[in-house]
Amino acid sequence: MLRNLGALAAAAFVVAGGAAYGGSWDERVFPPGAHVDFDAVAAAGPSALPALIDRGRVLFKAKFTTVDGAGRPKATQAIVPTRRKAGVNPPFTRTSGPDSNSCFGCHNDPVEGGSGDDVANAFVSEGFESAQFDTVDPSFSSERHTIALMGAGLVELLAREMTADLQAIRAAAVKEACQSGKAVRADLVSKGVRFGWIEAHPDGIVDLDSVDGVDADLIVRPFSRKGVFTSLRQFTINALNVHHGMEAVERFGARWTGTHDFAESGVPDAITAGDVSALVAFQATLPPPAVKTGLPGDWRAAAAEGEKQFDAIGCPSCHVKTLPLKSLVFTDPAPYDMAGTLRSGEVEAPIVIDLSVLPFAKTLQKNDQGAWLIPLMSDLKRHLVVDEQVNALGNELQAQRFVERDVFLTPRLWGVGSTAPYGHIGAFRMLDEIIAAHGGDARFSRDQYLALDPDKRDAVVAFLRALAIEAPR
């Protein structure tokens, strides 16, 4: 953050060699002086945010070039800096990456930041033993359909508050057990969502066997199909490396690798903390999806009926229709990120984005306690979605970051009407098909759905199709 940006730009220029750059046709995303200075933005306060968000939008759509540092010739896609054992990565590899020139390359449907068609699916692997693979066989990786990022700032804020709740419950249980000398069982409940329970013992040991749907450290990780990313910042750093081979200083820089160019791209310190913040700010301020307006009368009527059926058959037990959010103040860095993703202790001051001043905030309702009601239609909890009879979603062979292969985060259904195809690999073209594919924890509701009259099933589809992502007006 305290780096000399001028020196960096000069270094990039020199390292690239060959061609001269700097004309109005310059291909570079990062010409001299184009990196964002985190501290300067944080110090400037709200006045700097519009420019930061705009810069984030530019970076989101940017096609990173070789002289920007794109590609990771000697590094794998792993989230922990990992060198290739041998050889050099080609510029693009559709399977193990880099597989995209820009964020927008996948997140473009129906607007920037949105979902993507099946052709934009990614193939994710840990990047350790199977660092390079040239097949889409699930033995090697897990295929992923693009998740829309609309409303992502609100999602992260919900997760932060839920994490705080769960960790406070744990702390209280530990304290009570210590003081009472007896084991204390504590239910893990936040925002009405139950995450199982823990048992704290007087000696400080906490049994975690009955924790459900959240990681054992009680951090609610709201991003990715599996719910394994804590923050937009962590997701962004991972994605920049996996998909573009752009390596952020805070993960791949000298502090953690001993070098300024871990991937040997020829460009040192390719992505600054400020650059990441610009991307975070852009994503965090994307408006949430909304219910379509101006629908024809028959659709409106069907959607109203469909919502009743949706509720009646128990879909909201996981696809919780709204979660209450106490504060719309988004701070970057986030509070629960770990080393390798910028932490609050690593900056003089955070960047503060008050989402309540954005136009979309006017569309959000509040409950009687003054909390904002976020209509994401998810409990931000992981569930088993496969059973012996209904296992179409159980097509993976690898666990992902400790999450078993047939367990997934409840997808947010806001915007589902705009994000076909459906499912974690986008294997289902129609909403009726993906509903029918729900097994495991969702089996009861799925069976109820299939037992409905065709008209009522179609009404449920009408309701879901009305939940759409629309271009900002």
């Binding site: 040991i205 066997d209 000298a254």
Partner: protein, 585 residues
């Protein structure tokens, strides 16, 4: 089986409010709260002034983090001086152990001619380190002439005991509740193995209910011609059959060459540790460094030239083990006077551990530590305690080496700062003692490296000769002139297995992050008359998750435990899953 211990709970709210530095809230990361509540630039200013030396041209600067180690022994309530005549030129150790079930390491500190002291840790997690002295309930006469100590649960009752090294009879102190100790030598048929004891190590041999004890002696002061060529034999005490410890039978380890450090080590991954002994050439005649074959039921015998052991003669003062290169075969740092060694198995001659042939790589990797790296005194250093540990949480082992002139020896450096050799990704080490703030004008001896405030970062308690101990609290990563930065991710691990070896001494812990695997071995011994028990610390760098496997002392391997970073992890051999542990204050 769970350790049955009394837990120290948080103080009542009124008392808590009076204290300045609160435990972090559940929402705030510990590093951040500690940083903001306990530091100011004013506090750091003198430290940073020290940390701006003119670097030698050939000195490698750390490419990554260097820790900020803030000395705060007085503020922490420590007031213990190791001192005394010739017998106490050596030694100067202590023990760190959880003696009250709080999870926080308390300390027992040798005083030489001064009484040994026990300080109970009353710190709060993430806050400043605080100790309160507690009287040791044994005859005060026995608490003088103490050289050092090692913690070990001899009788497997779940409470740490102490083996106390003395000039005279050694002590075995049985741990009781609330950091109480009682003499146990009589109950355990231990006669104290009198002499000038300067080193100790212990292991559980296969099938043994109680530990085997190795006791290292220095000069036999009563022998004709003493001190030259009069090194006393060392001793091995194997537990005799029975339901309680019985150390009535001594097996001599002869010849002894003035053993200043010893360590049971599975050098060849055979599962049967050998006894590595580091000897002081100042007083032996025809001696050398030693490696003893200690096989269950057999008389110990030293490895010889015929076994591949190569003669090495140094002022051996401390031995430390660490798997720096991830090979699974330990490397050894040997302290000396001006010729420290970092040994690894010679790949050409040792095979896969068939022969104990070692090569010194200290020069190759920048870990010679043979002269002071700052202060201008170019006479040879005098090194004592050595220990591998990760002070930056970057996932690489560092080496701490305490330094201090023997006693105004003119041929050796007077200003002789301790070393903090930071492991680099290149495989080399970069000196950062001055950057970190530990390069004061002290006369170091033993050291205790532990996370005293359970904030995930390793602190250093250095026992100095002739002055109060130094307590270096690790505040995080050095950040130019700014406040320290949070360090990397970490895991602290505790093993529990059913009796007899309840704390799994001899177990190997493998921690895998990505393609890297780090190994830690639970040992009792080594260093300079100093040892610690409790949480086993592993730095994880940027890894958010890790996989832990344990090779238990009997050789059986555990399943893989999946754990998240920045947690205290308890691996109980009788349970299918690891648990997390949280401090009660």
């Amino acid at each position: 089986m769970k350790t049955v211990v009394k837990t120290i709970c948080p103080p009542p709210p009124a008392e808590r409010r009076r204290r300045h530095f609160e435990t972090p809230t559940a929402r705030a990361p510990q590093d951040e709260v500690a940083r903001r509540t306990t530091l100011s630039l004013g506090v750091l200013a003198p430290l940073l002034a020290i940390a701006s030396p003119a670097h030698a041209a050939d000195r490698l600067a750390p490419a990554g983090d260097a820790p900020v180690m803030h000395e705060e022994a007085q503020a922490a309530g420590l007031n213990s001086v190791y001192d005394g005549p010739w017998e106490f030129f050596v030694g100067g150790g202590g023990a760190a152990l959880d003696c009250d079930g709080s999870g926080f390491p308390s300390v027992f500190l040798a005083g030489g001619k001064n009484p040994a002291k026990l300080y109970v840790n009353v710190s709060k997690a993430g806050g400043p380190i605080r100790f309160v002295e507690k009287p040791i309930g044994v005859d005060p006469k026995l608490l003088v002439n103490v050289i050092g100590a090692y913690p070990i649960d001899v009788d497997g009752d779940g409470r740490m005991d102490l083996f106390v090294l003395r000039v005279g009879q050694n002590l075995m102190l049985k741990g009781g509740p609330d950091c109480t100790f009682a003499l146990a030598g009589k109950d355990w048929n231990f006669d104290g193995d009198p002499g000038w004891t300067t080193s100790f190590a212990a292991e559980w041999e296969q099938g043994a209910k109680f530990p085997t004890l190795a006791i290292g002696h220095y000069v036999d002061r009563d022998a004709p011609g003493s001190p030259w060529g009069t090194c006393q034999d060392n001793s091995l005490f194997r537990p005799q059959p029975g339901e309680r410890p019985d150390y009535s039978v001594r097996t001599p380890l002869a010849p002894g060459f003035c053993a200043l450090s010893m360590l049971f080590t599975d050098w060849n991954k055979s599962g049967v540790p050998s006894l590595r002994v580091s000897n002081d050439r100042q007083y032996y005649r025809g001696g050398e460094e030693q490696l003893w074959r200690v096989e269950p039921g057999k008389t110990p015998r030293p490895y010889t030239r015929a076994d591949g052991w190569r003669h090495l003669s140094i002022f051996g003062m401390g031995v430390a083990e660490g798997d720096v290169d991830g090979s699974g075969y330990p490397q050894y740092f040997l302290t000396s006077m001006g010729d420290e060694k970092l040994q690894k198995l010679d790949p050409d001659e040792a095979g896969r551990g068939e022969l104990p042939v070692y090569r010194d790589i200290a020069g190759e990797v920048g870990a010679t530590a043979h002269i002071p790296y700052t202060g201008g005194d170019k006479r040879p250093s005098t090194a004592w305690h050595a220990e591998f540990a990760d002070f930056t949480n970057d996932g690489l082992l560092d080496i701490f080496v305490s330094k201090g002139n023997l006693s105004q020896m003119p041929d050796f450096a007077a200003y002789d700062p301790s070393n903090l050799l930071i492991g680099q990704w290149s495989g080399k080490f970069a000196e950062a003692g001055d950057l970190a703030g530990i390069a004061g004008n002290r006369v170091g001896r033993g050291a205790l490296i532990a996370d005293f405030n359970l904030d995930g970062k390793l602190d250093i308690l250095q026992i100095d000769r002739g002055s109060n101990v130094a307590l270096f609290r690790n505040l995080g990563a050095r950040n130019g002139d700014g406040l320290p930065l949070p360090s990397g991710n970490w895991s602290e691990i505790r093993l529990i297995e059913p009796n007899p070896n309840r704390n799994a001494v001899g177990a190997k812990i493998s921690v895998k992050t990505g393609t890297r695997t780090q190994t830690r071995t639970l040992q009792v011994g080594g260093g300079d008359a100093s040892g610690h028990a409790g949480w086993v610390h592993v730095g994880l760098g940027t890894a958010e998750r890790a996989e832990i496997r344990v090779q238990w002392p009997d050789g059986e391997r555990s399943p893989t435990y999946r754990v998240f970073a920045n947690q205290f992890v308890v691996v109980d051999r009788t349970k299918p899953q690891a648990s997390y542990w949280y401090p009660g204050r």
